[in-house]
Amino acid sequence: MNPRVKRWLEELGPLFGLILVWSLFAALRPGEFATWENQRLMLLQTAVVGIAAVGATFIIVSGGIDLSVGSTIALGTVVIALLLEAGAPVTVAALGGVFVGVAVGFTLGSLVVGRVGSALGLFGAVAVSWVTWEQFGPLGALACGVAVAVAIALLGGRVFPRLPLAPFIVTLGAWGALRGMAKGLGDNQPVYPDELGWLGDVMFVGKSGLTSVLPPGVLLFLATALVAGVVLARTRFGRHVFAIGSNEETARLCGVRVERTKLLVYIVGVGCAGLAAILQFGYLSIGDPTTAEGYELRVIAAVVIGGASLTGGEGSIRGTLVGALIMTVVDNGCTKLGLDNWVQEVATGGIIVTAVALDRLRHRAS
């Protein structure tokens, strides 16, 4: 076979799977499944998990894992709701959600590469700001936080040992801890802000312009995927992520700044979970500490169905998108067929294992 054709076939493997399941449901329920409204609905249903999975692709390709995605999203929605409740402008509240993602990513990344001091520094800064907020106001609290961060950063190098930890363990801890923080912040209750501003519209079709075709949330999801795809495939940072995932020692030998790159991977990766929190908040219009439970596994499943290897060094944003869409199509299609929830769950489970098995087979053939 022409090697070019073969390469296309190899890369498009998961896409064929998507077309297959889609055609199956379209044939069974053409009137309900294969409508434009339903396609839009499916994109909407994919957006939250999809945007988080785009970020997780970086982490998984680098050889890491993030089990705390769901908890990060929940914490994000609660923080956004609290900020709105406190009267912050809507855009600031949304940025608060992104900040949660980036901050969690920085903490997880620091722990993974063994910079305990950095993680504690950020944590201390946020905690101090929180405590001093009422007494000194926002600016005073910010100043206190920065002071603590600087102090720990200066001390950090000397006091704390360099102690890299396995990403599985770090994010397993975060899975519990972040969920707990969300509950603590929300006082074990969902947070209902009075005014939602534009955050209330992100998951709905607008009246005119581009958003009348697709909701802003879906557009954000697709734009993020596009940018991430270019970054992963065509920049030095992206190639370094692959190199670290394939063989960290080789990357180090070749002058890749491994620690710095990994830290950035977690900031970008979990930062996307922060974006997912905005969409999830728009969807729920409340800050819910118990939302997005189990999303971490759906995210990992999407990345893996898309052809990534959990040992690192393989994967693509395109594949992840297809993986996320396959799961939505199955869920949505089963609903349209009037099948019970449990059928969807069994089908999704089967698809995950089948996808990976086919991927192995393809590798062996080539």
Binding site: R234, A243, S246, N247, T250, L253, G255, R257, S309
Partner: protein
């Protein structure tokens, strides 16, 4: 083994090989990578079934269907990559899969007895059977592996490149053991010994057999044949000059170390490396040779001292080294040297993606890596192929192509020819020589090359100056003409030091 054939798809791996070995005999099996040695031995062990031909063991037809089958019949392998479970103890490894039982439980006393007996048979009765294998040095692990073969009652023992990662004294110990195991007065085993080191074959084997392109092409008595004759049979052409030495012009110093102190056991090292020079570091494994190279490349933290490149002190990080024109090839190709699951092209350009383009996509990367892989003569389908699919020699050429692509001035080569076939070795030697002499390209400045090697003929054949590292201390560099194998070995074992003190 008679008329053994094996095909994989369109490739004929074995084309009618005859091989026999008797009790008490050590047969040396040599051949380039891809000649069919591994396939032949896998058939013998039962991991593969031949398409054609017959196998006999003790005059009876022998057709193992699996490695377990082969092992029960008395054929055992000692692999290049050790196949022990590192978390288990020595005795647990020795009886793994054949544990002596008492009722539903493992009979610990019997296990200990079997272990003691097997360890005594390999001359290492002082080893504690309860010790975890991961704590043993490499040489001892190999002995445990041989002991396991003994414990299972092996009659035919196959050694596949057993010394490629051993230090000299461990290798010597292994030779003694192999001779003892084959001794008809003792165990009287039939032994097949695969090696790339022709000196070993000459020292150890009673008979040698050369495989090339799946056929037996030569056989003889290693005491009569010269190394050149054996090598010629292996590559199928005359090997006249394995170590070429073009006219080299020693230029300015490009790399200078001043009391460079890295990871223990390294002691502060001082020397200068010049353009147009091949500098050798000899010494026993673990003496600190690799640590010098790693400290120069800043892979190990630089504790004190200075590295000056082209007259200026630079940042001590591997990242800065590549940009300042220093490149390194690791001794551990699989775990550190190459990212095996990435493509050839990705591996070649990794340190200097900026040389590819601002937005290095895969097409641009493949295009950029082309010339370097071409000059090294990497045999591949395309540069998109995964490095892990290549043979050892070709993998090493990819690692070297990386230095070429990055156009470094200083090449740090740690065991550049370990575990690769003679043909690839010869090509790499000639490449090193051409780089040091500033050929083949017009206008390419001569490079400065530092080679670490355990293989003394290689150092003596290739280098302009050699220094010996012993217990972390680097001795005085001397021109190669002032060294020979004995004097290098004496200094490496610390003998000369004691005499002079």
């Amino acid at each position: 083994m008679r008329g053994v054939r094996k095909r994989f798809g369109a490739t004929t791996a074995l084309d009618g090989v005859d091989l026999d070995v008797g009790p008490g005999e050590v047969l040396g099996l040599v051949g380039e990578n891809g000649a069919g040695k591994s396939t032949l031995m896998k058939i013998l062990a039962g991991a593969l079934t031949p398409d054609d031909g017959t196998l006999e063991l003790d005059g009876e037809s022998y057709s193992p269907s699996s490695p377990v089958d082969g092992r029960q019949a008395g054929v055992a392998m000692v692999y290049q990559e050790l196949s022990l479970a590192p978390h288990l103890s020595v005795e647990e490894n020795l009886v793994l899969g054949a544990e002596p039982m008492r009722g539903p439980f493992v009979d610990r006393r019997e296990r200990r007895r079997i272990a003691k007996e097997a360890l005594t048979a390999v001359g290492r009765s002082s080893l504690d059977p309860a010790e975890r294998v991961s704590r043993l040095p490499l040489g001892d692990r190999q002995l445990v592996e041989i002991a396991r073969a003994m414990a299972l009652g092996a009659r035919v023992l196959v050694f596949d490149e057993p010394t490629s990662s051993l230090a000299r004294d461990d290798a010597e110990r292994l030779f003694t053991l192999v001779k003892k195991l084959a001794d008809p007065a003792g165990e009287g085993l039939a032994i097949i010994y695969i090696s790339h080191f022709l000196e070993e074959v000459q020292e150890l084997c009673d008979r040698y057999c050369v495989l090339r392109d799946g056929k037996t092409v030569g056989e003889g008595d290693p005491e009569i044949s010269t190394a050149e004759e054996i090598a010629s049979a292996m590559v199928g052409r005359e090997v006249e000059d394995l170590y070429p030495c073009s006219q080299r012009v020693r230029g300015e110093a490009v790399l200078a170390l001043e009391a460079l102190h890295g990871k223990p056991p390294l002691e502060p090292a001082t020397f200068e490396l010049h353009r147009g020079e091949v500098f050798g570091l000899a010494g026993l494994a673990g003496a600190g040779r690799s640590e010098i190279v790693r400290a120069i490349h800043a892979l190990d933290p630089v504790r004190s001292g200075r590295v000056t490149i082209a007259g200026r002190e630079r940042n001590n990080t591997p990242h800065a080294r590549w940009f300042d024109g220093v490149g390194m090839v690791s001794e551990d190709r699989k775990d550190e040297g190459l990212a095996l699951s990435l493509s050839i092209a990705d591996n070649v350009v990794l340190p200097r993606l900026d040389r590819v383009s601002k937005m290095p996509g895969s097409h641009a990367i493949e295009r950029s890596a082309g010339p370097a892989t071409l000059e090294l003569g990497v045999v591949m389908r395309s540069s998109r192929q995964r490095v892990g699919e290549l043979s050892g020699g070709n993998q090493q050429k990819v690692a070297l192509a990386r230095l070429l692509f990055c156009d470094v001035d200083v090449l740090l080569l740690d065991e550049p020819t370990r575990g690769i076939d003679v043909g690839s070795k010869a090509e790499i030697y000639s490449w090193i020589d051409r780089l040091a002499a500033g050929i083949p390209e017009e206008g390419r400045a001569p490079k400065a090359i530092l080679i670490v090697s355990s293989y003394l003929p290689e150092l003596l054949g290739l280098c302009d100056r050699i220094a010996v590292v012993c217990r972390g201390r680097m001795g005085t560099p001397r021109p190669t003409a002032e060294w020979n194998e004995e004097s290098l070995m004496l200094e490496a074992t610390g003998a000369t030091q004691e005499v002079s003190e």
